[in-house]
Symmetry: C2
Subunit: 357 residues, 2 copies
């Protein structure tokens, strides 16, 4: 595959190299706020059918990149592809979120699980990566991703989304060794999965730890961070002569950015509840930072949206190593015109992207 990349701002910023301006992409940028996405989804029938069909996944991945001058594409997929490949009976009920027909609750349930072979059991994802990579034609980098082992485990054990995480916390306290066994399988599966995405053409990869923030500081280190460290440690570092940066994002993990930075990742995602200046001080130049506009700022009138965006840009300060993003995924009720304002504001901001003198 060709390795000409016309816009490599994202990769340079993730590696803390100087860039003429700060790159921007948005979590869940290929999503329901876009009318073209809703049209494709209506045609495809449902969310899982979109994920598992490489042509549709590719089409949807490109939609936001075609509409806005974003600095990266992120593969349209889901963090639950791995347990889906483990045959737990994943279903996305309309308006209900994901459900597993066969949740994982016992040592026997866990003993049955093995790491899926990405080339076989997750071929649709790998094919999607290759197809997007071809269709992008080097316009911008493609980001691959996976859920963190802890976050994926929460869905597998709870049988779907949860508010209190009672089932997995019960397992954590009553049978921690079982939970560790589950997380170890998921870490192994995640390594194979992300490395297959890199081999198929992903320029960067991201770990989404959506539920690390429901843990105590000690539990976070033992049950979430430790397994993300295992994954980061085993990722392919170079592909087609280019460094493949990685990003770790724990929602609600603002207090732990220093510990996250220490696992050897290239960048840390920051949600909107932590100031970028605070986070930057904590990581002390070890990693790049990605974030962190409050997704709800996209409801604001253009002038307010601009000033909120400038505030986030300024909060990072001078120097390299900032990738602009929201602090969490974009919500379905956002007006697509507001996204244009956001992208333009970030890309017009040149001050503060050069290296420190």
């Amino acid at each position: 595959m060709s390795d000409i990349l016309k816009n490599d701002l994202l990769l340079r910023a993730l590696l803390r190299e100087p860039t003429p301006r700060r790159p921007i992409w948005l979590m869940r940028q290929a999503g329901r706020y876009l009318p073209e996405y809703r049209a494709t989804r209506a045609r495809a029938g449902n969310f899982l059918a979109m994920c598992t069909n490489p042509e549709i996944a590719c089409e949807v991945t490109l939609q936001p990149v075609d509409r806005y001058p974003l600095d990266a594409a992120i593969l349209f997929s889901d963090i639950l592809t791995i347990p889906h490949a483990m045959n737990l009976g994943l279903d996305f009920e309309a308006g209900e979120g994901p459900k597993f027909e066969r949740p994982v609750r016992t040592a026997a349930d866990i003993a049955k699980l093995g790491a899926p072979d990405p080339g076989q059991d997750l071929k649709y994802v790998i094919d999607s990566v290759a197809l997007v990579r071809r269709e992008l034609g080097g316009r911008v980098p493609l980001i691959g991703f996976a859920g963190s082992p802890w976050t994926v485990a929460t869905y597998m054990v709870e049988g779907g989304g949860s508010k209190t995480f009672g089932q997995i916390k019960r397992m954590m306290y009553e049978a921690p060794r079982d939970l560790h066994r589950l997380l170890a399988v998921l870490a192994k599966a995640t390594i194979l999965y992300l490395n297959a995405q890199i081999a198929a053409g992903a320029h960067a990869v991201m770990l989404f730890d959506t539920w690390g923030g429901v843990l105590t500081p000690l539990q976070y280190e033992e049950f979430s961070l430790r397994y993300m460290a295992e994954v980061i440690d085993a990722l392919t570092r170079m592909s087609a002569g280019r460094r493949v940066p990685n990003i770790v994002f724990t929602k609600g993990g603002g207090a732990w950015v220093k510990k996250i930075a220490a696992i050897g990742c290239d960048a840390v995602g920051i949600d909107w509840t932590t100031d970028l200046a605070t986070a930057r001080q904590a990581v002390d130049g070890r990693v790049a930072l990605q974030g962190n506009l409050d997704p709800a700022a996209l409801f604001a009138a253009p002038d307010t949206l601009r000033s909120e965006t400038l505030r986030v840009l300024a909060s990072y300060g001078e120097g390299a190593g900032h990738v602009f993003n929201l602090g969490h995924g974009i919500t379905p009720d956002v007006d697509p015109e507001r996204v244009a304002v956001l992208v333009d504001t970030v890309q017009s901001y040149v001050l503060g992207a050069a290296p420190r003198n």
Copy 2:
């Protein structure tokens, strides 16, 4: 009313006075995990009927204090009594959480709202406080409470619980002055309400800021903390010759404890995601701390529960100023026997409750 209090450990710990051991109470201690609570609820019909009936509210408030040697009672009530008194059509649908028939969305909606007169519109709460106070007979102190203006506003604007807080955040960005007007009314209502609870016999009061943690640091100061500061500032300090301590609890506010401590409250509640040692360092002796066992630790076998409890006790360190609690409300699926283990473990721990030498 008699002011003999046989056990004033809670009040002393909240005021950072030395105590022979650390007091313990549990958020939502009068709740569904207790069979006697479920029996009362079945008789009363529904949650709101329990809150609005002083005899039932009193009965339920006393249940956990009768069963366990807890060091405080907390009034059985709800943070939505104020908007209920504002006639917004509150309903608790089974398993669905609270819903308001008439959510507050516009400047006109807000202009119609006034602070309820506690003695009239919230008489059932004030009567409950007086009745509990009488029935307790000085066994332990009684804690009164209210939701924080921000947290109560989220329910009023969203029309119920929310995951993304899209409606109130839209108001925050599009019409911040309207939101400030709403919060000002709620702050005024909360002051009247808590002072009426104190006048009726509450020995201490607590502000529950359940949703402050969904804000950015700047938004938290502007829309949540500022109004809690107004409330704290206007609370009755002395009642029946005794100081009335107050507690502020922002769930997910671990990063902001220093700022919370600076508003002049007596104690800060800490959820389980922040280490008590970290929080204590941040507040530097200005306030007492309340917390913070992971509520899910109550699922653990007794030995594990004991060691987790001891870890929390030790994490506070030596010296006065720690009230043991969970980091969030107790969940309905907890075995009441485990609560007995927890209470016993805390009350048997004498080390570290004396003042520093």
